[in-house]
């Protein structure tokens, strides 16, 4: 299966290598560098690259390429999914998954990689198990360790590894027992020039932070479970209960995890919270153009739209922009050709507007392509699909936990075509 792993940063420096079988020379990465050069953009590097005797499967995450070397047939998604799991584990352990944190914690990284794969086959990928084997670094612990000489490594087999619920460790104890659930919905939409919806769907996740003692058995029910069209669950959720009763029943892992994700695709259900009026035009002569964008609220269910940002990828010939924003700030980056307008809170009384002229490279023909607008926004205390948690019950433990549910709606891949 997975033979070796190389971590390569955006500049092309190979800063970590790990082999699970015989050592493979790092020169194998030349095939990757070649493809990387050809792709120009990092996200255009093909995930699977062939070399005469090996296959390189890579992912690009947090400005790092995780390049794994494969020798024989293996489902590519298997490797890709695993590499993402590695990145997530790093994030979980060090707060962020970046070159610096990986370099700073290289020993823990190595220990983790050693535990996660055995002979290239995943061994322990559940964060609850890994945390029992290798404790995450904290300032306090590293100080204590330097003084007492004790280690970060667990001595016994994690209980999860043997139980039928490998995601939860045994003997969890908290003084405050709390369970928080965040219902986060993202709107993926394509609006065409005239503002009609070409395509819209909602992508939702329920993130949980559960800090409960013992072995609680939770069940979460919704007011309107019929909304959920397609769901995927954390392994802790009992499929059968969902199938028969539409109740999410589970023994939670300890700490943060994603309980489920769902998908609501029926178009008429998707409310589009804002509308965008835009006009971007280039003149035949004079190498200039005009831009006029107005954003207004549409179906916001009485909530305020926050963190509104409009991003426009301009054609290559646009040199600079001289604009005037009635609200927020704008910034045009002439290198990446990205116009970014940070609006902030949307005020329904006074609609934000960005207007002005664009100057083009002189002599260049009028660009034929039309830029599209990407919208980012956030609405607190609202799940745009209308999904509502009905109740959360706990069985198996005696104490009374504190329970909390939060709703947030965000823009996912929200695009307005011009």
């Amino acid at each position: 299966m997975i033979h070796s792993l190389f971590l390569i940063n955006n500049a092309g420096d190979l800063f970590l290598e790990k082999h699970w079988k015989s050592v493979i020379s790092r020169s194998i990465c030349d095939y990757f560098f070649e493809a990387r050069e050809k792709a120009v953009e990092p996200d255009n590097v093909p995930p699977v690259i062939r070399s005469p005797h090996h296959y390189l499967i890579n992912i690009y995450r947090e400005k790092i390429f995780f390049v794994s070397v494969i020798q024989t047939e293996v489902p590519p998604l298997f490797v890709i999914e695993f590499l993402h799991r590695v990145a997530e584990t790093f994030q979980d352990y060090f707060g962020e998954c970046s070159e610096t944190t990986i370099k700073d914690n290289v020993v823990i990284v190595y220990e983790l990689l050693e535990e996660m794969l055995d002979n290239g086959f995943p061994l322990a990928t559940e964060s609850n198990i890994l945390k029992e084997l290798i404790r995450p670094p904290t300032i306090l612990r590293s100080m204590v360790n330097t003084i007492t000489g004790s280690s970060n490594v667990g001595e016994t087999l994690p209980t999860g590894q043997l139980s039928s619920i490998p995601w939860r460790r045994a003997g969890v104890k908290y003084t405050n027992n709390e369970a928080y659930f965040d219902v986060v919905e993202e709107i993926d939409a394509i609006l065409d020039k005239s503002g009609t919806t070409v395509f819209a769907e909602i992508q939702g996740v329920i993130d949980a932070c559960v800090k409960l003692s013992g072995m609680p058995d939770l069940s979460l029910s919704f007011m309107n479970p019929r909304l959920l069209d397609d769901v995927s669950f954390h392994p802790c959720v009992r499929y059968k209960r969902w199938e028969s009763e539409r109740v999410i029943s589970f023994i939670p892992p300890d700490g943060n995890f994603q309980l489920m994700s769902y998908h609501i695709s029926a178009q008429n259900l998707v409310a589009i919270p804002i509308y965008v009026k835009q006009n971007i035009s280039f003149f035949e002569t004079g190498s200039s153009g005009r831009l006029d964008i107005t954003v207004g609220p549409k179906q916001t269910m009485g909530k305020t739209v926050e963190c509104l940002v409009v991003t426009v990828h301009m054609p290559k010939v646009v040199l600079s922009a001289n604009l005037n924003a009635t609200q927020g700030t704008y910034n045009y980056d002439p290198v990446t050709k990205i116009l970014l307008w940070d609006i902030g809170k949307l005020n329904p009384q006074k609609l934000p507007n960005l207007k002005g002229s664009l100057s083009l490279q002189s002599g260049a023909p009028k660009p034929e392509e039309s830029p599209s607008l990407n919208i980012d926004l956030k609405i607190q205390q609202l799940a745009i699909s209308g999904l509502k948690v009905n109740r959360l019950d706990m069985y198996g433990e005696k104490y009374k936990p504190f329970k909390g549910v939060k709703y947030v709606t965000k823009a996912g891949k929200f695009q307005v075509r011009t």
Binding site: L14, F15, E17, K21, S22, V23, R26, D43, N44, P47, V48, Y55, Q71, T72, E73, V74, L77, I80, F82, H84, V106, V107, Y110, E111, N119, F121, P122, G149, S151, V153, E155, T156, L157, T159, L162, S163, S164, I165, P166, D192, V198, F199, D217, V231, S232, F233, H234, P235, R238, I251, S261, H263, H313, K316, E368, E369, P371, S372, N374, Q415
Partner: protein, 1041 residues
């Protein structure tokens, strides 16, 4: 302190260091050299080498030292500080050093010269140091094989450690050290670990199998045996790993799967995600060899219409040929229940969070499910498209393949494949592919409108791909051909040359389909030749004009004139097309073009490219009539101006589904190393009974699972051994033995009947092994259950209740021998049988539990069944079962009573009374039932055995019966004869068992040592000599059968 150590070292320090190193080696060696530790079989082989190494290592060091002394100024000794830290006796220093070394390895720096200093820390007490040493060892052992051997003894000791984590990690490292000389040790370790009590260790053993196989493929046969054994394992923890090993070592041994097929299907949902992927992929292949094509009947009619759309002619012919054949033997298709089981049990996994699992299920459905059911995977696959772009890339590749075969499946999700400007180009192109595949008469207008917006994109590669996609839609769907063509012609005036060029190429292909109607487009394109520079586009225009020169008789010669002028500066493909154009014109319009053609041919004659020179020579001979030109020139016109079939624009993903979807080979469209072909469906189904297992299978167990689930709120109970927890070993087994199979109750009485007497004789060893394991597990399960009930009930309820509880859960089982207490004729219709349930009799632990089954064969009720007037030997006691009020006609009931036999085989006599009659009956226990299993470690066993020597030991030689071919049979026979538990034992020649007598608790130790040629020796150690003698007799009989 640390700082000090890092200071440049002087000569004295070096000397110290070196001495430390050599000493360290000796220390590390000493456990190997002392004769009383570890197995010695490999020791003699290795010793000379090790010693030689020690000697040579020493001298090397010395010379290195001298060198170091000489060149202390010039060559900085880099790692001396690290060596010194490793030699110190402070763990913190060692740890620090190891951390720095591991950091070096991570950066890819060579740290191999530290090997001796590191390897001697392998036995370090500090667990983190130890782990880091392991990391180092695995990395460098291959390069320093001799030195690596020094660490082996540590791992061998680790393999015997009571802590399962240590056992497992010792095996992990041992098997990861790629040193060929230790192959036999690895083999032994794997075999032993494969029957370890801890499932975690067994999992590690499964992981070690492919490692050993890649190190020494000659071990394959032995490894397959281990795989076979582990495949029978019932724990979810092991399942994924062993299937992985199976796939790597012996993927073609499909026969090993038969017996485990149903179990794997049923365990699947509780296996960890990665194991699920491997198992599902393997089962897909398995199903393709064992079941019939579920689409065999319907597919022909329906799919033909669909196929005709894309399929080339020969394929259709094939179908036609196939049709009568299949029609002839068309039978109503009935899906094998096992096939259904697989589909049913994988379906919920479409909801997995792991994209690889979802993909695995999707491909399983695509390859195995009836057409009507495949649809369900579309939704899940569309969901995956929201994931990371790499996941999207792979999923789209597979969707592209699927959408050709089963278009309808993805049609409802058409819009999910719409392209955003922010998608990476490779994703855009794939989405385009899918959209094109999905296009049909009804949705084409929507799709074309969407394509129009794509053409305005800034990403030029994507625009080119969009134009091609339009072309493909136009060729596939006749209705929109003209619309598409018009649209493409408009693109010809686009400013971007790439767009124009791509359009030209696509237009050329479209025109070929109906050239007559489009002479104006051809004219338009002829004008473009002045501006377009892209060679492919120029070549396309020239070909088009040449091919249809009759439609544009005026323009064509003029174009040739222009091209003749620029001939020398053109690219090769353009030159070839100029020659073509010239030849065609010469044939149709020789008056105007004769000279031009000659000119062009002359230019080509001296071209640098030999293809062009060849072509020129060939054409000249063909079209310019001379004396020498043969018969061919007569047909020149036919040759050049033959009607050419229009090109078929087809998807690059067509026919990719002969690779298993989701595989690397499918993605690359080329066979990757180690790819296992997906076999074709068999013509007729192989025997389905190979999958029958002679134990109550999982579907039945599940009912019990449910029951249990209600009692203890825990989610997934497919894994009962998993509960044993880290303390494991002895304890967990103690549950199993003292429990009794009889407790399994109704489950077994049903299906167990087939495995009863008749079955037992004929079963193969493998099955017996299977059954035994299953039995053990069941015992354990039931035991825990029974125990719980007892704990709950004992204090609060009277005997009545307890027995009634038992009578509900306990029914006689087929595998335990039943004795007759009262024959139904003698009992006037009342039949009574009894057996020794081997369950501890909870009200009185020193009584033997006897399970009694009453069956009323009369036509009337029997009332007041109870015991009266027991006549017992002194000391013996009896605990009666509660009176049975009514036993209806035809019914049977089971109760449990306790008898204290005082460790003798004297019969217990009593009267069995009904409301009308009294029967004198007696129960005489076989000696083997007077004991209960005891759990000892190997050491305890030896210790206890040492105490029971002399008079208390009975030795007997015997010849094993024909059927006693292996250990398992022996174990089974012995445990069937006497209620004993097995004691772990290092040697495979010996089987040990231990138990205690029920009433006095005396130890009973049994050892069976097998010898070559069927001989064996039986040793029984027991304080009660009478029991011992009788037991020897019984076991002898059992074994020599």
């Amino acid at each position: 302190m640390q700082k000090l150590l890092q200071l440049p070292v002087n000569a004295v320090n070096i000397v110290k260091g070196v001495q430390g190193v050599t000493q360290g080696q000796e220390e590390a060696l000493s456990p190997v050299l002392t004769p009383d530790s570890g197995p010695q079989n490999w020791y003699s082989a290795v010793q000379p080498e090790e010693l030689r190494h020690l000697r040579s290592g020493g001298t090397e060091d010395r010379s290195a030292l001298e060198e170091g002394l000489n060149s202390v100024q010039t060559q900085p000794l880099r790692h001396d500080d690290l060596k010194e830290m490793l030699d110190s006796n402070k763990d913190s220093l060692k740890l620090e050093a190891m951390k720095r070394i591991v950091a070096m390895i991570a950066r890819g720096k060579n740290a191999s010269d530290l090997f001796p200093a590191v390897v001697k820390n392998v036995a370090c007490k500090n667990i983190e140091v130890k782990k880091l040493v392991y990391v180092y060892l695995v990395r460098y052992a291959e390069e320093q094989q001799d030195l690596a051997l020094l660490s082996i003894s540590t791992f061998q000791r680790g393999l015997k450690d009571p802590n399962q984590l240590i056992r497992a990690s010792a095996l992990r490292v041992l098997s990861s050290i790629r040193v060929t000389i230790i192959v036999p040790i690895m083999m032994l370790a794997i075999k032993e670990a494969a029957s370890d009590m801890s499932p975690y260790v067994r999992k590690t053993a499964a992981h070690a199998i492919p490692k050993l196989h890649s190190l020494d493929p000659e071990q394959k046969d032995q490894l397959i045996e281990v795989i076979e054994k582990l495949l029978a394992d019932k724990t979810t923890l092991v399942a994924g790993s062993v299937v992985m090993a199976f796939e790597e070592v012996c993927p073609d041994r499909i026969d090993l799967i038969h017996k485990n097929y149903r179990k794997l299907c049923n365990l699947l949902i509780d296996v960890e995600e990665w194991g699920q992927v491997v198992i599902i992929n393997m089962l897909t292949r398995y199903a393709r060899t064992q079941f019939l094509n579920p689409n065999i009947n319907e597919s022909l009619l329906e799919e033909n219409s669909e196929k005709a759309f894309y399929a080339s002619d020969d394929e259709e012919e094939e179908d036609k040929k196939a049709e009568p054949a299949t029609l002839a033997k068309r039978k109503p298709y009935v899906m094998d229940p096992d096939h259904r089981l697989l589909l049913r049990n994988t379906k919920p996994l479409l909801q997995s969070r792991n994209a690889a699992v979802v993909m695995a299920v999707a491909q399983l459905y695509f390859h195995l499910a009836p057409k009507a059911e495949v649809g369900i995977i579309a939704k899940a696959l569309v969901r995956l498209m929201r994931s990371h772009s790499e996941v999207q890339y792979v999923v789209l590749q597979n969707v592209a393949t699927m959408s050709i075969k089963r278009r309808g499946m993805f049609e409802p999700y058409l819009k999910s494949f719409y392209i955003r400007s922010t998608d990476p180009t490779q994703i855009k192109v794939l989405k385009l592919e899918v959209l094109t595949n999905l296009a049909n008469e009804t949705n084409i207008s929507t799709i074309l409108r969407e394509f129009q917006t794509y053409i305005k994109s800034m990403d030029k590669d994507f625009v080119a791909a969009s134009i091609q996609a339009i072309g493909r839609c136009a060729t596939n769907i006749g209705e929109v051909r003209d619309t598409c063509l018009n649209g493409l012609v408009q693109l010809l005036s686009n400013r971007d040359e790439l767009v124009v060029a791509e359009s030209v190429v696509v237009i050329k292909k479209l025109l070929q389909m109906q050239p007559e109607q489009h002479s104006d487009i051809i004219k338009h394109m002829a004008k473009l030749i002045d501006n377009i520079q892209v060679p492919m586009a120029r070549a396309s225009i020239l070909w088009l004009i040449g091919e249809y020169c009759e439609h544009v008789p005026k323009i064509a010669p003029d174009v040739l004139r222009k091209m003749a002028k620029s001939f020398t500066n053109e690219e090769d493909i353009v030159k070839l097309q100029i020659i073509n154009l010239a030849a065609k014109l010469y044939l149709t319009n020789s008056k105007q073009s004769k000279l031009l053609t000659q000119y062009v041919l002359n230019l080509a004659k001296y071209d640098q490219n030999y293809d062009i020179r060849d072509r020129a020579r060939f054409i000249r001979q063909l079209i310019v009539p001379t004396d020498k030109s043969g018969a061919l020139s007569k047909y020149a016109k036919k040759l050049f101006l033959a009607l050419k079939p229009a090109p078929v624009l087809e998807s690059p993903f067509k026919d990719r589904d002969h690779f298993q979807l989701g595989s690397l080979s499918h993605l690359l469209n080329a066979k990757a190393a180690g790819y296992q072909e997906l076999p074709n469906w068999p013509e007729s189904a192989p025997d389905p009974s190979v999958r029958n297992v002679e134990i109550p299978d999982w579907s039945k167990c599940s009912s019990r699972k449910d029951r249990k689930e209600k009692k203890v709120e825990k989610p997934f109970y497919s894994d009962s051994e998993g509960e044993s927890g880290p303390t494991e070993s002895a304890d967990s087994e103690s549950d199993s033995g003292s429990g009794s199979a009889s407790a399994s109750g109704s489950d077994e009485s049903g299906s167990g009947s087939e495995s009863e007497e008749s079955g037992e004789e004929t079963e193969s060893d493998e099955e017996e092994e299977d059954e035994e394991e299953e039995k053990k597990k069941r015992k354990k399960l039931d035991k825990t259950k029974a125990k719980k009930q007892c704990i709950i009930n004992f204090d609060q309820f009277d005997m009545n209740k307890i027995t009634s509880v038992f009578s509900q859960t306990l029914a006689p089982s087929g595998s335990i021998k039943m004795y007759e207490l009262l024959h139904r004729i003698k009992g006037e219709g009342l039949a009574v049988e009894y057996c020794f349930s081997r369950q501890p009799f909870s009200p009185e632990p020193n009584m033997v539990a006897v399970q009694i089954q009453f069956t009323n064969n009369t036509n009337s009720e029997t009332k007041n069944l109870h015991i009266e007037d027991p006549r017992l030997q002194s000391g013996m006691r009896i605990r009666e079962f509660a009176e049975i009020d009514v036993l209806a006609a035809g019914e049977s009931v089971t109760v449990v009573m306790g008898i204290d036999f005082c460790d003798s085989t004297q019969a217990a006599n009593f009267q069995l009374c009904t409301h009308t009659r009294k029967f004198f009956v007696s129960i005489q226990p076989p000696v083997g039932e007077l004991m209960t299993p005891a759990f000892l470690t190997e050491n305890d066993f030896k210790k206890e055995q040492g105490k029971l020597m002399g008079m208390n030991e009975i030795l007997e030689k015997l010849t094993l019966g024909e059927k006693c071919v292996n250990e398992h049979v022996i174990v089974e026979r012995v445990t069937a004869t006497a209620n004993l538990s097995r004691v772990p034992c290092g040697s495979d020649k010996e089987c040990r068992f231990a138990g205690k007598t029920v009433s006095s608790g005396c130890l009973v130790l049994v050892t069976v040592t097998t010898k070559e040629g069927g001989g064996a020796q039986l040793t029984v150690n027991c304080e009660k000599m009478l029991i011992g003698t009788m037991l020897v007799k019984d076991i002898l009989q059992a074994l020599s059968q």
